[in-house]
């Protein structure tokens, strides 16, 4: 299958990455060559194979439900590009 320009623009929307027309065209070519390479997997019959999600075959451990970090509000806000008092600031969302 081939990926067309329309699909690339759709993926770019889903990825929340704006993309210029020229770059989108180049990316269409790149993605097509990569997917041509990926499609080799279709040679394999995997109808009876279980997917492998993680090689660490451990079950997730439970921990006590208690707070372990205290007073880290400043730490959390420290790297924010825009903040006000104790809040992250974003462009207006609700009119």
């Amino acid at each position: 299958m081939t990926i067309d320009l329309k699909t690339v623009k759709h993926i770019s929307k889903l990825s929340r990455i704006s993309i210029e027309e020229e770059k989108a065209k180049r990316l269409t070519n790149d993605l097509n060559s990569i997917f041509k390479f990926i499609e080799k997997l279709n040679e394999l019959d995997t109808s009876k194979t279980e997917p492998l999600t993680s090689v660490a075959e451990t079950t997730l451990k439970l921990r006590k439900d208690k707070i372990e970090s205290k007073n880290i509000r400043e730490d959390i806000l420290k790297n924010s590009p825009e903040k006000s008092k104790d809040f992250f600031v974003v462009p207006k969302v609700v009119e």
Binding site: V8, S12, L31, T49, L52, L60, P81, V90
Partner: protein, 485 residues
């Protein structure tokens, strides 16, 4: 160059314990050489002043019981370091100053190490040549205009150039072993779950592992001891008894069964690499090991599988860069516009390419055809290794299908760039440990490496085999200081 720069990690530890050298002597020597290395571009951020103070503090109150007492180390800029800028090679993190320390760098500090700086890498560790970094490409000290490999290219270059006595990298598809191979150094990717991922900027969480990069196998064993720990802050960290890798290092490999996978004899592989592989096989036989032909039938499917699984995980992991909580933000007319511009301007081309591949393979209607399919093939690849390990203790292969290439040579052909990782990617998919050791040179005098792959949690065994080969192969790095200012 100061004589100190020529010393290996274990030698420096001895000298400092025997009070022949102080931490200040050593730290100064590596900082001074690093200051003359701007041509290599291996550093993104230095921590020189702070590190010197730490060295002086160590000398005032030395603790020689630590594993790396007062030893300076520069680390890949993918590890979060408290109060020290961490960029992951990306513009989107150009001003990010972590408020916490990654577990691996904390282990280094706890064992007496001193962080002297943050080393260049491909953006978010996505690349095989260090050319995707927002902070410029890195020169391989072996020869001008040669890539140092990637993604841990700043690490491999700084180590080979002796700007740091050892370093650490991360390996998602070969990012420790390939740059080690390209620079004539040793690099080990531990078993998935050995070294904590806490505080490492995430790329593909089911594949990422941190590991040591050093001048020789002894140093590698020591640094692995320092790095590896069980950590409740990483839900995939595995609780197992870590070995005394250095103390138990043993070159005796008599009776060890070593597999040679026929699928790694790929078309067009340079003769030098085949010869080198033969040389490794001969050494193993001479040392009493048993060489056994094996098959890993699904090897050819590893790269296509990787290029679904890794981008899929990356697209999820990198969703956090939204210009709100930390990192770069671009102005937008509204929230969505701000997201889209921030990510478009903040990420480089390769990262965008992989996010988009990942988004596509996870999107409605394509999940089963791509992502689920890849997870199934990943099972087959792991099964190949499980089968092989019924017959052998470890596997020997070349580390890479070629030596280091020129800067710019593969930049416009993503698939040809991806093929670099053909021998390293299957190991990440199966979660196994593997070490690359320098083993010879090609016609141009560029280094080539051999890879030893082990069973899960059998790091000691691959270190021992590597040690045995290293002792007999007589490799020497030829580096002149063409890059010194």
């Amino acid at each position: 160059m100061s004589e100190i720069n020529n010393l290996k990690l274990c030698d420096l530890v001895d000298k400092i314990k025997n009070k022949k050298l102080s931490s200040k002597d050593i730290t100064e020597a590596f900082i001074n050489r690093s200051k003359k290395s701007s041509k290599l571009n291996s550093y993104i951020t230095d921590n020189f002043d702070n590190a010197l103070n730490r060295a002086k503090e160590f000398d005032e109150k030395p603790d020689f019981n630590k594993k790396i007492p007062g030893i300076p180390l520069a680390v890949k800029d993918l590890f979060c370091t408290k109060n020290l800028r961490t960029t992951a090679g990306s513009k989107i993190l150009e001003n990010f100053i972590p408020t916490y320390e990654s577990t691996v760098t904390q282990n280094i500090i706890d064992h007496g190490g001193i962080i002297i700086g943050k080393l260049n890498c491909d953006e978010f560790a996505m690349g095989s040549s260090n050319e995707t970094s927002n902070y410029g490409n890195v020169q391989n000290p072996i020869s001008e205009n040669l890539v140092p490999g990637g993604s841990s290219g700043g690490s491999s270059a700084a180590l080979a150039a002796k700007l740091t006595p050892a370093t650490i990298g991360t390996d998602t598809g070969g990012s420790i072993r390939q740059p080690a191979s390209f620079t004539g150094t040793v690099g080990l990717k531990p078993t998935y779950g050995s070294c904590s991922r806490y505080g490492i900027v995430a790329f593909a969480s089911s594949l990422d592992q941190a590991g040591p990069m050093t001048h020789d196998v002894k140093d590698c064993a020591l640094l692995l001891e320092v790095m590896s720990s069980f950590d409740t802050k990483d839900s995939t960290s595995v609780e197992f008894t870590r070995g005394n890798y250095l103390n138990d290092l043993n070159e005796n490999i008599k009776g060890k069964k070593i597999g040679i996978p026929k699928e790694y004899k790929v078309d067009g592989m340079p003769k030098e690499i085949e010869d080198l592989w033969e040389k490794g096989i001969k050494i193993i036989k001479d040392n009493g090991g048993d060489v056994i032909d094996i098959s890993l039938p699904n090897t050819n499917y590893a790269l296509p599988t990787y290029y679904i699984v890794a981008p899929a995980e990356a697209s999820s992991n990198l969703a956090r860069y939204d210009g709100v909580k930390y990192g770069f933000r671009s102005k937008g007319e509204n929230l969505i516009d701000m997201y889209e511009k921030t990510r478009s301007e903040g990420f480089g081309d390769e990262v965008k390419r992989r996010i988009m591949i990942g988004t596509y393979v996870l999107s409605s209607g394509y999940y089963d055809a791509y992502y689920l399919k890849a997870q199934k093939v990943r099972r087959l690849i792991k099964n190949d290794f499980d089968e092989a390990y019924k017959k052998v203790d470890a596997i020997l292969t070349p580390s890479t299908p070629s030596s280091a290439f020129k800067i710019g040579e593969k930049l416009n052909d993503p698939v040809s760039m991806y093929l670099n990782d053909i021998f390293t990617v299957p190991i990440n998919l199966a979660g196994l440990p593997a070490i690359s050791i320098p083993a010879g040179h090609d016609n141009n005098g560029f280094p080539l490496g051999l890879q030893i792959i082990g069973k899960a949690f059998d790091e000691q065994n691959i270190l021992n085999i590597a040690y045995s080969i290293e002792k007999n192969i007589g490799y020497k790095n030829h580096i002149n200081d063409w890059w010194i200012k």
